[in-house]
Amino acid sequence: MSELLLQKKHSSYYYVKSKLSTGLPLFAAIFLVLLIALLLLHFIWHGAPGITWAFLTEAPRNNNTEGGIFPAIYGTVFLVFIMSLLGVPIGTATAIYLSEYARQQSFFSRSVRFGVNTLAGVPSIVFGLFGVGFFVQFIGKGIDTAAQTTIWSKPSLIWAAATLSVLTLPVVIVAVEEALRNVPQDLREASLALGATKWQTIWRVVLPNSLTGILTGTILAIGRGAGEVAPVIFVGAVYSLPQLPDSLADQFMHMGYHIYVLATQSPNAADALPLQYASTLVLLILAFSLNLTAAYIRLRIRRSHK
């Protein structure tokens, strides 16, 4: 191999080839960064003028060409709040299992890991179908038949939140597990040496030391959940709802879905465009600030445990 290389070293073909193979990666990296910068600038440029206090606090008026997006923000926040209530405990428990209890080679722990990875790869639209089939049509209907009501067997906030909590479960699990593994072994050993039981160690020593990790997981899950539109389209998000949702059985407006609606269904696309860009920018800021916070916390955890 190296002999071959040496022979060819000075031929012009080889020169071009070697220039190309260092140049191409550089070019790709520059292109990628420029592309992303352009994308960001595009949305900031078009969106920034539209963001005013009124825009953030008012309901849409006049067929979404005036007013603001407050119901959509409220709906999204409400949704991700319920989602975290449902998803984070389960995700944390799974992470505790994987990090503290699981034996690497056991069939069960391998299946759990496989399950988590598979879940992470399932297309979001399939979760939407699952939400309709399982939460609305099965659990909701079950509650309704049992309680003789008609409120649960239809798309609503609680089912959308449940669907999203399933979708974001892998995000929580991976983040929390990482945090748990970053807790120094010495702490566990010290706790056990002092006579604490396994659960006492986990509950009193390991978990408090990885609270920030759980927070990271929650934030990442929220960031993911707030931006997902496909699963909530038919599990509860609505086109327009002037009132704010006030019960779990209500439907709700959703930032991402609102953007989709503005882009495709507004009666006057030209008039709606400024609002459209402003809404997009709000969603982007929401997503980025969440991701940035998570990244920052993560960095701090890593630093503090080094």
Binding site: A28, I36, N117, V122, F127, L129, Y260
Partner: protein, 387 residues
């Protein structure tokens, strides 16, 4: 790779501890249970199709149609306010051109035909165009995203100075934070125009590429020419593919960058010591060494592109066209589910079929994931256990 579980020594039996452990085990099994539930419930909702129990499938005889007609005459909504304006019958011709009664074919033949027209008197549920469409969009997005992100990852891992890496990596993370609906919107208003005006100039180039490919693979002559003829459509697999590519780039970039950086430095040192240049080292030593990780990255990218809904829904034109041309509009499986499930009558055959499409998506993602697990297990477990 050592697990924390080995740390805790077996001590005397404590009921409380055991209960806790079982609760945690049970919760941990939730992910597996969910996978099964997804499987079961999507199958259940598609059941009308699979087990042939859908209402539309049962009445095959003319008798049942008569019954339907009867009910149509019987049950009409009452009109609350009769004096509201004269009713203008819009098209009287309606009765004349009755939809032609073709032989009722079996639902499975219908399902694998080449027309997707699910709404109407005689619904056609051919999924062929949807499969082709999904394939085309995924292919375009990979052609766009893979070289770009792998090359950029190579640059990041081997050539870039630390501070440049600190710019590139967070920037790509930013792209990962873009919700897909935002990318879809971007394609809908901006990419479409860009692609259209660019492609109008590129027709000769495309023909040349097609010529070259057909020269290399003579049997593909006609096929490749039709696949690369620029059409007059604005929305197309190319536009959608670029959008999906934007969604896929962060996945491929991050995972392959991780894989490339994880190759032991001794490989690089050895290669350089043997006289190879930096670029030879990167492409001929490090890249092959990290190949499992890179393949995993591409596979996960495929999974993402395949199932992405919002971008496909907004940017591809959604025409269920049976064509291999990547400049034609396409309708993907995910976009079809996304746009039709909202308004379809729950429990109808159409609803069953949309869930059947969901099964296809789920199975493909499942298989992709299983492949990643099987072939690149070592790499993945390394990554996930932070070793």
């Amino acid at each position: 790779m050592s697990s924390n579980s080995t740390l805790y020594k077996k001590s005397k039996f404590r009921p409380f501890e055991a209960i806790i452990e079982w609760i945690i085990r049970l919760t941990a099994s939730f992910s597996i249970i969910i996978i099964f539930l997804i499987f079961i419930f999507i199958f259940k909702e598609a059941g009308g199709l699979i087990f042939g129990t859908a209402k539309e499938l049962k009445p095959k005889k003319a008798v049942s149609e008569k019954v339907q007609d009867k009910s149509e005459e019987k049950v009409k909504p009452e009109i609350y306010n009769p004096e509201t304006g004269e009713i203008v019958k819009i098209v009287e011709v309606k009765k004349l051109v009755k939809a032609k009664e073709t032989e009722s074919q079996s639902i499975w033949a219908n399902l694998f035909s080449d027309t997707w027209q699910p709404v109407g008197k005689k619904p056609k549920y051919g999924i062929q165009p949807l499969l082709i469409g999904t394939f085309k969009v995924t292919l375009v997005s990979l052609l766009f995203a893979t070289p770009l992100s792998i090359l950029a990852a190579i640059y990041c891992a081997f050539f870039a100075k630390a501070w440049i890496r600190d710019i590139i990596k967070p920037t790509v993370e930013v792209l990962a934070g873009f919700p897909s609906v935002v990318l879809g919107f971007f394609c809908l208003v901006t990419v479409v125009q860009g692609v259209y005006s660019t492609t109008q100039f590129l027709q000769p180039l495309c023909t040349n590429i097609a010529d070259i490919i057909s020269w290399i693979l003579p049997f593909s002559d006609r096929w490749i020419h039709s696949a690369l003829t620029i059409s007059d459509f604005h929305y197309s697999a190319v536009v959608g593919g670029i959008g999906l590519g934007l969604a896929v780039i962060p996945i491929i970039f991050t995972i392959s960058e991780d894989a490339l950086s994880a190759v032991p430095n001794s490989y690089r040192e050895a290669s350089l010591a043997l006289g190879a240049t930096e670029s030879e080292t990167a492409f001929k030593v490090m890249l092959p060494a990290a190949l499992p990780g890179v393949v995993a990255a591409i596979l996960l990218g495929i999974g993402r592109a395949f199932g992405e809904t919002m971008i496909a829904l907004m940017a591809t034109g959604n025409a269920a066209l049976f064509s291999w041309n990547i400049f034609h509009p396409v309708r993907t499986l995910a976009a079809t589910i996304g746009s039709e499930t909202g308004e379809v009558q729950w429990g109808s055959l159409h609803y069953n079929i949309l869930f059947f499409l969901g099964i296809l998506l789920f199975l493909v993602s499942f298989i992709i994931n299983a492949l990643t697990e099987l072939f690149v297990k070592k790499y993945l477990s390394k990554k996930f256990q932070g070793a």
